[in-house]
């Protein structure tokens, strides 16, 4: 990764009727990185991709590729590779012809085309699929052909629109790893759209969490997960418990139920100030393990195979969500002890 910004969006806005799909997007994608656009449906992630690809012209703002202003440039000029959610493989062409499409449009010779198609199919591990038709392929195979087709033209940026959404869970997990490998091997700058936070966290170098047409947090997966900028981001990245509290001193807060807990938030708290804290369910521990040990009652417990999802209630009505591994059976009404590690708290300001 050279640190050069390959794709730049400046103050991009797009409205459909009265809805603002994109509300002032500023984004830079660096050479060689894999950036995820993450968010719920309607947040604008696909619209952002469409603007970069040139399928949609923004109402305001600029799009730059390698420093060049391409805002008004049509899609066929931009030299990007796009993999669509439905793959969009040409049904009337064989796999080879599909992959060769972009090369033919660029006027490559027959030998060159053949060589590069073979190379591309080998890269996605479908060396024998050349003569088949898209309808004869499974979903996973179609996706790989779509990827080969986009990569064979050696685009400067690869754009993926929910590439794994149409696959079943097992296949999705396999393809996730493969996608990452291929991207690393080729070293191509990639932007991909997803609504699945696990996917975004696992695959990307950076994540842009979007909501209602704006980017709420842009950062590395760890940053976005462990230090979310807003309540929305924190909630979207994973379930968590929100606790309203009041600061007692520099590092202690009082919860609604009167419990005093130590919270190391990386800053000194102002006594009397209200704070809003988040704690991830996997950080809530059962048993005594250090500071912040509190009695609790199990409100409900759901066994989900590799973990339990437990809803706990502290004194004073404070509710807590916990993820507990292990096979110890838990039932509603059980009295337990919980430990809330002081460094597990996140502060949420917005």
């Amino acid at each position: 990764m050279s640190g050069k910004a390959v794709v730049v969006l400046e103050a991009v806005t797009k409205a459909y009727g009265r809805t603002r799909a994109l509300d002032g997007i500023d984004l830079a994608v660096y050479d060689g990185e894999l950036l995820a656009l993450l968010g719920p449906s309607g947040c604008g992630k696909t619209s952002t991709l469409n603007v970069v690809a040139g399928f949609v012209e923004p109402d305001a703002g600029r799009v730059r590729l390698d420093g060049q202003d391409v805002t008004r440039q049509p899609a066929w000029r931009r030299g990007l590779g796009v993999v669509f959610q439905s793959y969009a493989l040409f049904p009337h062409m064989t796999v080879s012809d599909n992959v060769a499409f972009g090369l033919r449009e660029r006027g490559a010779t027959r030998d060159e085309i053949q060589a590069r198609v073979v190379e591309a199919l080998a890269l996605v591990r479908l060396p024998a699929a050349g003569a088949m038709r898209p309808s004869q392929l499974s979903g996973g195979m179609q996706q790989r052909v779509a990827l080969a087709r986009a990569l064979v033209i050696r685009p400067r940026v690869l754009l993926l629109d929910e590439p794994l959404a149409a696959l079943d869970r097992k296949l999705r997990e396999e393809m996730r790893a493969e996608l990452r490998e291929i991207q690393r091997a080729v070293g191509i700058t990639t932007v991909f759209v997803t609504h699945d936070q696990h996917e975004a966290l696992g695959l990307s170098d950076r994540v842009a969490v979007m909501n209602a047409g704006r980017i709420e947090h842009l950062g590395t997966p760890r940053e976005v997960y462990e230090r979310p900028a807003t309540a929305f981001v924190a909630d979207f990245m994973g379930a968590s418990t929100v606790l309203d509290a009041r600061a007692v001193d520099g590092s202690t807060v009082e919860l609604v139920g009167g419990q005093r807990v130590e919270a190391r938030l990386g800053r000194s708290l102002v006594p009397g100030a209200t704070v809003r804290l988040l704690i991830r369910p996997e950080r809530v521990e059962l048993g005594e393990a250090g500071a912040n040990v509190l009695p609790a009652r199990v409100a409900s417990a759901m066994f989900l195979g590799d973990h339990w999802e437990v809803r706990l209630e502290l004194d004073g009505g404070v509710r807590l969500l916990a993820t507990v591994r292990g096979s110890a059976a838990l039932g509603a009404g059980d009295r337990v002890t919980v430990t809330l590690p002081p460094d597990a708290f996140l502060e949420v300001t917005r």
């Binding site: 459909y16 009727g17 809805t19 603002r20 799909a21 449906s41 309607g42 947040c43 604008g44 992630k45 696909t46 619209s47 469409n50 399928f55 949609v56 012209e57 049509p74």
Partner: protein, 279 residues
């Protein structure tokens, strides 16, 4: 163009290109419009016997339409069209039902081909065929049929069945069979299911099919021309007689205009009814 937020339906397009593509088709329609305009223009011009030139503006042509012996033809047309519609409906419904409800794709294909083939065999062939059937060469009919209104009616029903069948079949096929199953489960016998569920739900199809058949039959030409043998005349035959035999283009145009207006009015009504039911 407005589209659901967060996603856009179609690739970026300029509306101007759409109109350009539509252009040639609109030119052809304009030509049709001009032809009809010429027709209407002639209908209000005076007929000069022996020439296809016309005189000044007049309402003589339309008054001629209302003359008693022409009025009779109009009345015959209305009656024949109405009877045709009723009989066509009765005859087409069972076939349409079979077409819509059959489970086998092959049977459906067969029915569809049998339904459509007369459609595409051409008016002259079909009418001539009826001339043979009704003409006592093959079968001695108890009642004289050829060159009588009854024969014309038989031919007209035959002519209209494909259209009615297609419209009804489309309407019936859109009725969820679960309604019929629900009725049966509630204790209704097959005939009652049909009477209380299927028939009412196919009403929009019945109405639009009837109106289309009536409108079409109103202007029917080859069937009454050949099967009527000059003794049964409908509006279209009068138009042809006046235009091609008497060269009275203005007079003919008045009748043609009448047929046009009636047909369009009926189809506007159909459109309204269809619009309300959104079949």
């Amino acid at each position: 163009m407005p589209a659901p937020p967060g996603r856009d339906g179609a690739p970026r397009r300029r509306p101007a290109l759409g109109y350009t593509l539509l252009g040639p088709a609109l030119v052809m329609l304009a030509i049709l419009g001009i032809a009809l305009g010429a027709l209407l223009q002639f209908s209000v011009r005076e007929f000069i016997p022996g020439s296809i030139q016309t005189g000044g503006l007049t309402d003589k042509n339309f008054r001629g339409v209302l003359a008693p012996h022409y009025l009779r033809y109009i009345w015959d047309t209305v009656v024949l069209s109405a009877l045709t519609t009723v009989f066509t409906l009765a005859a087409s419904y069972p076939v349409a039902y079979a077409l819509a409800r059959t489970a086998s794709a092959r049977v459906r294909s067969l029915l569809l081909i049998l339904t459509l083939a007369p459609f595409f065999t051409g008016a002259i062939v079909r009418t001539y065929a009826w001339m043979l059937v009704l003409g006592n060469s093959f079968v001695r009919w108890p009642v004289k049929l050829l060159f009588e209104p009854e024969g014309v009616l038989i031919g007209l029903v035959h002519f209209s069945m494909p259209t009615m069948i297609l419209i009804l079949a489309a309407a019936i096929s859109h009725i969820d069979p679960r309604y019929e199953r629900a009725a049966a489960s509630l204790g209704a016998r097959p005939w009652r299911v049909f009477w209380r569920v299927t028939l009412p739900l196919s009403a929009p199809g019945i109405v639009s099919g009837s109106l289309v058949v009536f409108a079409w039959t109103f202007s029917a030409f080859p069937t009454p021309e050949l099967l009527g043998g000059g003794r049964v005349k409908m509006i279209a035959n009068v138009v042809k007689d006046l235009a091609l035999d008497a060269f009275n283009w203005p007079g003919s145009a008045a009748f043609a205009a009448l047929a046009l207006v009636v047909t369009l009015a009926l189809l506007v009504v159909t459109g309204r009814i269809l619009g309300r039911h959104a079949t």
